[in-house]
């Protein structure tokens, strides 16, 4: 039976429970004897803890304990970095509770355990916390002065500088016929998940075992951290992945609460649950994106790019968190985007500030760098008198140049090459889809009170981070199969996609893939999780390997039972048979299982182009999306229905970041956007006209599926495309957007300044 489930737009399995209110998210869990935790957080951005007295809180009704740093006599554990764990970052890692200084509004100081959330919150008010304020650093420009230091011992607020290097950029600039230097900036966003974070921990004192529900994204790695911090063997901890209400890079990293709640459960020997409220979520979950660029492009007179150099300053917040350096690395490594840039010299500076620490958010560093470069390209093309479409065409990497090397980044081992693709093909298709040629004449025209403009932006998306992934197959009692995965679900449709891959690999009807289990630490020997658009590629390739091992195991079992050579055993539907025609049902092998892995250090690079037609109201500063098209080549699409969902969903997230979202602080480091009425997300009426086209022209040469990670391309080019469109709409007024988000007031400012 030759299946073609891979490539089919199949409806999702998980929808049946989600649509009927039968999903099970961590806050839905309830167990006997459950206590509820709430976290006391610093209301001061920078200061010394002078006094912390919980005695009054302990007397409040229903309160069982208040946990502070004093309850950790062995020292307050520090959360290590997961990605780029460089020694330089060590002094900047976050303790699970503040005990000496507080460094951002929202930093955990104590945990109250009580009979209900309401009683715990009542008691929180009774904790006396005195903080002597220190001068706060609320932006990178203040951090640079090093007048006030977050970490006095290091003597600087700059935790590191990443150096992206290729060729000899300075020499190229010396000889270049044309150079242009510009400054740009992006706002502070975060991967807001609709489900706030939560953890439920159960300690079994008799067996010394810990069960932690609410795990997400990288449960195996988080188990390693927790085991070390809490002093248990890894095998004594089960991390349970429930339904997860969104990830986007932010959910599932190891946060202070991922230690505090298990610690509390063991401390009090009762199950403990914590669910954050939205205000906490806004100030506690990883922030991202805020960066300022001062970059320069060198070109020949015909528009050929010669070199790229400059500095990017990243506002890191108060600590280096698990994946906090990824954005700052990517922003310099991928600044050149999908273009042929022979010489690169970009420094990315990591500045510590008194704000919520940063981590990754979908397209980390890529959204920012795309905006910086794509805006600069439009400015350069205009100055050279070259059409911006022609300029891009001339510089996009061709398939003949693949694998195309990109800048190395020090001090990491980041050396990489793009894998495959004719980037111009996606570009041309996108222009065609949006009708660029016919619409180009609208640019800058005022029609019915609104200026029309077109913008285009080309992107590259990295995926499939190594080192490895694991998958396992098992025969069920009824002869159906179960799939077990080391990768995780954050809502992207893992159960459906892996059922498709398994059914094709096993050559069975898809309903014989009974279950797809994922995420929890007891399913496979080791797992790596869902980040860097890696689940489908890495997990899917591991599943293909598991299938080989599984078939070998079935044949071996068949040979033994049928008394023949394993190579002659056939697996035919739900029967195992030998050439003599003797057979037995597969269900006789219930429990037979085989694991497989896929190891790979070659990243996948999907690519494409965004084009957008906007109409800008100069009086209201409102940007309307008239049409928006993404063309993305993904190598191979496992499920076009869910893939398009990823792309369109990411576009709207990106437009939110380009137009609405910004986590604001005042000069004292006080957090100003603590509700969804302040931090504005896109709604159903904001960005209606969006389309995407998926192509599969250049399969990835580095994995057996030929697939490329594709969950982030939809967000990466939104800022660049949108800002370019606004620039061209407002060209008659000479407006050049250099800063995101383009909120109505910022657009109005761009318009107003030029009118005077």
């Amino acid at each position: 039976m030759k299946n073609t489930f891979i490539g089919a737009p199949m409806e999702r399995r998980e929808d049946l429970r989600f649509l009927r209110g039968r999903g099970e998210y961590v806050d839905d869990l309830e167990v006997d004897g459950l206590l509820h935790a709430v976290v006391l957080r610093s209301s001061v951005a920078h200061g010394r803890i002078a006094a912390l007295d919980a005695s009054a809180a302990l007397k409040c009704p229903g309160v069982h304990a208040v946990i502070t740093a004093k309850d950790m006599p062995g020292g307050v554990p520090i959360i290590p970095m997961r990605l780029q764990p460089l020694p330089e970052f060590k002094p900047y890692e976050q303790p699970v509770l503040a005990h000496d200084k507080v460094r951002y509004v929202g930093e955990p100081v104590a945990v109250v355990l009580a009979e209900s959330v309401a009683l715990a919150e009542d008691a929180l008010e009774a904790i006396a916390l005195e903080i002597e304020p220190l001068p706060a650093i609320s932006d990178y420009a203040t951090a640079v002065q090093n007048k006030s230091l977050l970490f006095e011992a290091t003597g600087t607020n700059r935790s590191l500088v990443f150096h992206a290097r290729k060729g000899d950029a300075d020499a190229a600039f010396r000889d270049a016929p044309y150079t242009r230097r510009e400054r740009f900036s992006t706002g502070r966003h975060y991967g807001l998940t609709m489900e706030p974070r939560g953890v439920m921990a159960q300690w079994n004192a008799e067996t010394s075992r810990l069960t932690v529900s609410g795990a997400a994204k990288v449960p195996f790695f988080n188990r390693r951290i927790l085991a070390k911090q809490i002093g248990l063997p890894e095998t004594a901890i089960d991390m349970i992945e429930n339904d997860v209400g969104g990830g986007y890079g932010a959910r599932g990293e190891f946060y202070p609460e991922d230690f505090l709640i298990p610690f509390a459960a063991r401390h009090i020997n009762r199950p403990v649950k914590w669910t954050e409220d939205r205000r906490e979520n806004l100030m506690a979950m990883n922030h991202a994106r805020e960066a300022a660029a001062d970059i320069e492009l060198a070109c020949a007179r015909d528009g050929t790019i010669l070199a790229l150099r400059g500095d990017i300053h990243n506002d890191m917040g108060a600590y280096m968190r698990t994946n906090g350096a990824v954005g700052a690395r990517n922003v310099c490594q991928f600044l050149a985007g999908p273009y042929r840039v022979p010489h690169v010299k970009v420094d990315s500076h990591l500045w510590m500030t008194n704000k919520t620490p940063v981590g990754t958010y979908r397209g980390p560093g890529r959204f920012e760098s795309n905006f910086f470069l794509e805006r600069l390209i439009d400015m350069v093309a205009a100055a050279l008198g070259i059409d911006r479409v022609e300029f891009r065409r001339r510089n996009l990497v061709t398939q003949a140049e693949q694998p195309y090397p990109i800048a190395d980044v020090q001090p990491t081992d980041a050396k990489d090459k793009y894998d495959s693709g004719e980037y111009q093909a996606a570009f041309e298709q996108c222009l065609k889809e949006i009708g660029w040629h016919e619409k180009a004449k609208l640019c800058g025209r005022l029609i019915d009170g609104r200026y029309h403009g077109l913008g285009v932006s080309c992107f590259i998306e990295g995926g499939a981070a190594g080192p490895k992934e694991t998958a396992r197959l098992e025969v069920n009692d009824d002869g159906t199969f179960s799939v077990y995965l080391g990768t995780t679900s954050v809502g992207q449709g893992v159960e459906t996609i892996f059922a498709q891959i398994a059914a094709d690999a096993l050559e069975v009807p898809i309903d014989r893939i009974r279950h797809v289990y994922h995420g929890s630490t007891h399913y496979v020997s080791d797992g790596f999780g869902a980040y860097h658009s890696r689940s489908t590629v890495m997990g899917g390739s591991a599943l293909l390997d598991a299938t080989k091992n599984f078939h070998t195991a079935i044949r071996a079992a068949g040979a033994k039972r049928l008394g023949c050579d394993a190579s002659t055993v056939a697996i035919d539907g739900d029967k195992v048979s030998n050439p003599d025609g003797r057979s037995f049902p597969l269900s006789d092998l219930a429990g037979l299982t085989a694991e497989g892995t896929f190891s790979n250090h070659h990243h996948t690079y999907s690519y494409g182009t965004h084009a957008v037609h906007v109409a800008v109201d100069p009086k209201l500063g409102r940007i309307e999306i008239v049409d928006y098209v993404v063309v993305q080549d993904v190598g191979r699409a496992v499920n076009p229905l869910t893939l398009k969902g990823q792309v369109i969903g990411a576009v709207v997230q990106g437009l939110g970041g380009a137009c609405l979202e910004h986590l604001q602080y005042d000069d004292d480091g006080q957090f100003l956007t603590g509700s969804l009425a302040d931090y504005l997300l896109p709604t159903a009426s904001d960005f209606p006209n969006l389309r995407c086209v998926i192509t599969e022209d250049y399969p990835c040469p580095n994995n057996p599926l030929g697939a490329k990670g594709a969950g982030e391309g939809g967000i990466i080019a939104t800022g660049g495309a949108l800002a370019n469109a606004v620039a061209h709409a407002l060209a008659p007024l000479g407006a050049e957007p250099r800063d995101l988000p383009l909120t109505p007031s910022k657009v109005w400012e761009l318009v107003g300044r030029k009118r005077v």
Binding site: L16, F18, M194, L641, G645, L676
Partner: protein, 157 residues
């Protein structure tokens, strides 16, 4: 104090503190965890339930205010077997990913289509703009709701 109301066709009597929200009462006292809490300040719409047929944010309503009302949650809109036409349309159009906002989308869309089975795309977008979704970008949700209109014409579903 006691709150007496009807949930999904069943009469309930719950001992609650006056400050308990209807959302928390449904989730933690009545164990109807299909209703989700996403912001607790009335912006995200994940907790939307039907109170006497109207779409209401259960995080902005106290349990005691439901006294004497008929409350329907996402569980009450569902069938034991299979999906309702609205739910099937959501599945067909891939109008959900992580599923967290979905119960609020379903209850809101059900209330809309029950009253206005002829609504157009702009109206769907206007009404759904009170429910935040971070995964889908809304395009597929709007398509799903429009596609489900036929099932509501003639007062069924």
């Amino acid at each position: 104090m006691k709150a007496r109301f009807e949930v999904n066709g069943h009469k309930v009597e719950v001992a609650v503190e006056p400050r308990l929200t209807l959302a928390d009462c449904l989730r933690h006292h009545l164990r109807l965890t299909g209703t989700h809490v996403g912001c607790e300040h009335g912006v995200c719409g994940a907790c939307t339930v039907l109170v006497d047929g109207k779409a209401v944010r259960s995080c902005l309503m106290l349990a005691v205010q439901a006294e004497g009302s008929k409350v329907v949650t996402v569980e009450g809109l569902s069938k034991d077997e299979g999906l309702t036409p609205l739910q099937a349309s959501f599945r067909k159009h891939h109008a959900l990913q992580c599923g967290f906002c979905t119960p609020g989308m379903i209850t809101t869309a059900h209330a809309l289509l029950s009253e206005e089975p002829d609504c157009d795309a702009d109206r769907v977008r206007e009404v759904l703009s009170g429910n935040l979704c971070r995964c889908t970008g809304y395009v597929s949700i709007v398509e799903a709701v429009l596609d489900a209109r036929a099932a509501y014409k003639g007062g069924t579903s």
